[in-house]
């Protein structure tokens, strides 16, 4: 199954061979290229080169062309400020500066950075036919907010008709953008409407639902799938979002996957998310990232779920953390290991290791998931057992299963990060690699010899 097939099946709640993985690479691609975000967001070549690097490194099943919610707003006259390590930000709103709604136009595909991203989409599509290509478009409520600013909240009371006209216009823009992206080869249109987290379900149904439903119908009629992206404390609107009939709902870490699963299951709506962006992917370790991926996988189940970060990846996300997620999603064995890895914030106060130099014997510790249940662990233990046996009582060996608290303690005390690992006299000697018998014998023999000489 190709990544594209995997994502397209999952998004339509059909069976897949494994959960698909879609890292939302936007400004992060600029950091992969070693350039600033402004340069990246303004160049079709750099956007496609960045995507290519992300594809090579993270082996995703799907990828967005980029992640930028300012494209439509900028074309329509919003003031935009660029940054070196963030997406651009909208700060000036044309409808509060004398522009009239009737004066706004339908953005054309050769206008501003629409041209840039469509060119990038075509290149990425051409080079990667087996990857599901996402396009992010600005949701009607968020675009309305970009155009009118936060005056919109007061106008929702003072001039309902005007707000509805504005949102209706913004949804026409969303349809047009969807059309452009679908023609450029995108498979999935992500309608990103983060500002809807600010309103309750009644307002959502009044000001968002009718328009969003039409957009998803339009996307479907044009042969693509629609995903409704939200962020923040949007739990109250999940049912209303689902009822707009997107193929998929994507959420960040503020909403639990179990909750979304419960709301979507049986309704032919798939869901995605919600890897933790800051504390885990940006600031955490590879282990934290792998464990968080497993948390998502275990919460969401195997059908109708797409593993993804909560929203666009921070610029400086360490690539090794994303690679750790790739490893976990592609390999069930890695998932088992991650499930059992100790949480790095857990401190074992009562850890004490023997002083290996006090004895003439050599101690071999094998840290495993469980040699009875996991093949690589079994081969590792077999190899150690066979070699140690040759030295009689001069060498002691022991397996430490990280499924047990004691096993975790030894693992933490020895500073082991990968499973299986062999430590000899407290030193990490073979990581995730079954040593050839001769090599293992040689290391043990040298240790014994050194000890004998020091007597």
């Amino acid at each position: 199954m190709t990544g594209r097939e995997r994502v397209l099946n999952a998004i339509r709640c059909r069976e897949t061979d494994r959960i698909p993985w879609v890292p939302f690479v936007g400004s992060h691609a600029a950091s992969l290229l070693g350039i600033g975000a402004e340069e990246y967001f303004k160049s079709a070549e750099l956007i496609s080169e960045g995507a290519q690097l992300a594809i090579e490194r993270y082996k995703p099943d799907g990828l967005p062309v980029t992640f930028d919610l300012q494209i439509e707003a900028e074309v329509l006259g919003c003031d935009v400020k660029y940054s070196q390590d963030n997406p651009p930000a909208v700060f000036g709103h044309p409808l509060t500066k004398g522009k009239k709604l009737e004066e706004l136009w339908m953005p054309q595909k050769d206008e501003g950075r629409i041209k840039t991203v469509l060119q990038a989409a075509e290149t990425i599509r051409q080079k990667n036919p087996d990857i599901a290509l996402y396009a992010t478009i600005t949701g009607p409520f968020t675009l309305a907010l970009h155009l009118l600013g936060t005056d919109i909240f007061m106008k929702m009371f003072e001039d309902v008709d005007y707000v509805k006209q504005l949102i209706a216009y913004c949804s026409e823009v969303a349809k047009k953008m969807s059309e452009y992206y679908i023609h450029a080869g995108c498979d999935i249109i992500a309608l990103v409407d983060p500002m809807t987290s600010q309103i309750g379900p009644d307002m959502f149904k009044q000001f968002v639902s009718p328009y969003a439903s039409e957009i998803f119908e339009f996307i479907r009629a044009n042969g693509a799938a629609g995903s409704f992206f939200v962020c923040g404390h949007a739990q109250q609107n999940i049912e209303a979002m689902r009822d707009c009939k997107p193929e998929n709902i994507s959420i960040d870490e503020n909403i639990s996957l179990e909750f979304v699963k419960q709301k979507c299951e049986g309704m032919q709506v798939s869901f995605g998310g919600n890897l933790q962006l800051t504390t885990v992917l940006l600031l955490g370790s590879e282990t934290d990232s792998a464990k968080d991926a497993v948390r998502c996988i275990d919460s969401a189940g195997k059908t109708g779920f797409i593993l993804a970060p909560g929203c666009d990846l921070p610029y400086a996300t360490p690539p090794k953390n994303l690679e750790a997620v790739t490893k976990v999603v592609q390999d069930e064995y890695e998932q088992q290991i991650a499930r059992n890895m100790p949480d790095e914030s857990i401190k074992f106060e009562d850890i004490s290791l023997p002083n290996y130099q006090d004895t003439q014997k050599v101690t071999v510790n094998v840290i495993t998931l469980d040699s009875e249940a996991c093949a690589p662990c079994q081969y590792m233990v077999d190899a150690v057992k066979a070699v140690c046996g040759k030295f009689g009582d001069k060498v002691e060996w022991q397996e430490h299963k990280i499924k047990t608290r004691d096993g975790l303690k030894v693992m933490a005390a020895l500073g082991v990060q990968n499973i299986p690992t062999v430590c000899i006299d407290g030193e990490i000697s073979f990581i995730s690699r079954i040593p050839p018998k001769e090599e293992l014998e040689e290391v043990i023999r040298k240790k014994l010899q050194k000890k004998a000489e020091s007597v």
Partner: protein
């Protein structure tokens, strides 16, 4: 010693920047080593300009994608910077009008900050003239009130007594524990802030009994409406209606009608506006208010 943190919230236009300037100039704060974090959506630089006469380190957080979780990245980066520079006694965070207070509190509870920072007070500004209009539409405006230790009702100079009383009642409904003060332009606020004690809350942060929700309902009445019946309904619902605004065809004549704190204002409207009406109410279910209005509006 831990840096004292003061969080300043309040929905858009409540007067946070004015209040902040007043706080910074106050006797209680002016000689302290202060850092400021400004997080105003869509207002890059504006607050910075107002504050440029002060010598405080100023950090602006403004994430283009407006995703709350992404703002957290910048927020953590900024607070880390402040801690590393170790030249701050007081950190004031002016949250964006659309920020969820619980997010800011949870950011500060991250293990990396727990030791170095202590939230002393969460202060929420509420605009006397507009809060009832905003409450049903802007969810964070309500949760900011719910999480506050001190609530300062602002712009009391432009709201009348009834209006202020209605807002006070509404705010008390959302937050029974916080101290409520009235004020204009942030005068005397610094003293109130210093005297404010943190409210110990349940883990969810909100009181156990859920407050009455404020709801907004809109109608588009097509036909003729009896003025008498309509006014009689408004009278019956006077304790539930916080605001009402719109255009109704009364006995063949289009009228603009508005209710503010139980007082009805109306005028004949010669324009060709479409009849439409929005009602903001509380202590009543959506179904009930819809039914009552539909009966009178003949919908």
């Amino acid at each position: 010693m831990a840096v004292s943190v003061y969080v300043l919230t309040g929905y858009l236009g409540a007067g946070k920047t004015t209040a902040l300037n007043s706080i910074l100039k106050s006797e209680q704060f002016r000689d302290k080593r202060i850092s400021l974090i400004i997080n105003e959506f869509g207002k890059i630089g504006v607050d910075g300009k107002l504050l440029e006469n002060h010598s405080f380190p100023l950090y602006e957080i403004n994430k283009g994608s407006v995703f709350c979780v992404c703002t957290k990245t910048d927020f953590i980066k900024t607070v880390t910077q402040i801690r590393e520079q170790a030249n701050t006694d007081i950190l004031i965070i002016e949250a964006t009008g659309i920020a969820e207070s619980c997010d800011i509190e949870s950011f500060m509870k991250e293990p990396i900050f727990k030791q170095g920072f202590e939230i002393k007070a969460n202060v929420c500004l509420v605009d006397a003239a507009n809060f009832t209009k905003i409450a049903p539409f802007l969810k964070p405006a309500v949760s900011q009130v719910q999480y506050a230790d001190l609530i300062n009702i602002t712009k009391t100079d432009i709201a009348d007594e009834d209006e202020i009383a209605a807002v006070e009642k509404l705010v008390r409904n959302y937050n029974p524990q916080a101290r409520i003060t009235l004020g204009t332009y942030g005068r005397g606020l610094a003293e109130d802030i210093i005297q404010t004690k943190r409210i110990e809350r349940e883990s969810a942060g909100i009181s156990m009994t859920p407050p009455e929700d404020v709801i907004a309902v809109s109608f588009t009445p097509e036909g003729n409406v009896s003025r008498e019946e309509f006014l009689s309904l408004l009278d019956k619902l006077k304790n539930q209606i916080l605001r009402l605004k719109g255009y109704v065809n009364f006995d063949g004549q289009l009228e603009y009608i508005e209710v503010v704190c139980g007082k009805v204002f109306s005028r004949k409207e010669p324009s060709n506006k479409r009849p439409s009406l929005t009602v903001i109410a509380w202590k009543i279910s959506r179904e009930e208010i819809e039914q009552k209005f539909k009966n009178v509006l003949k919908i």
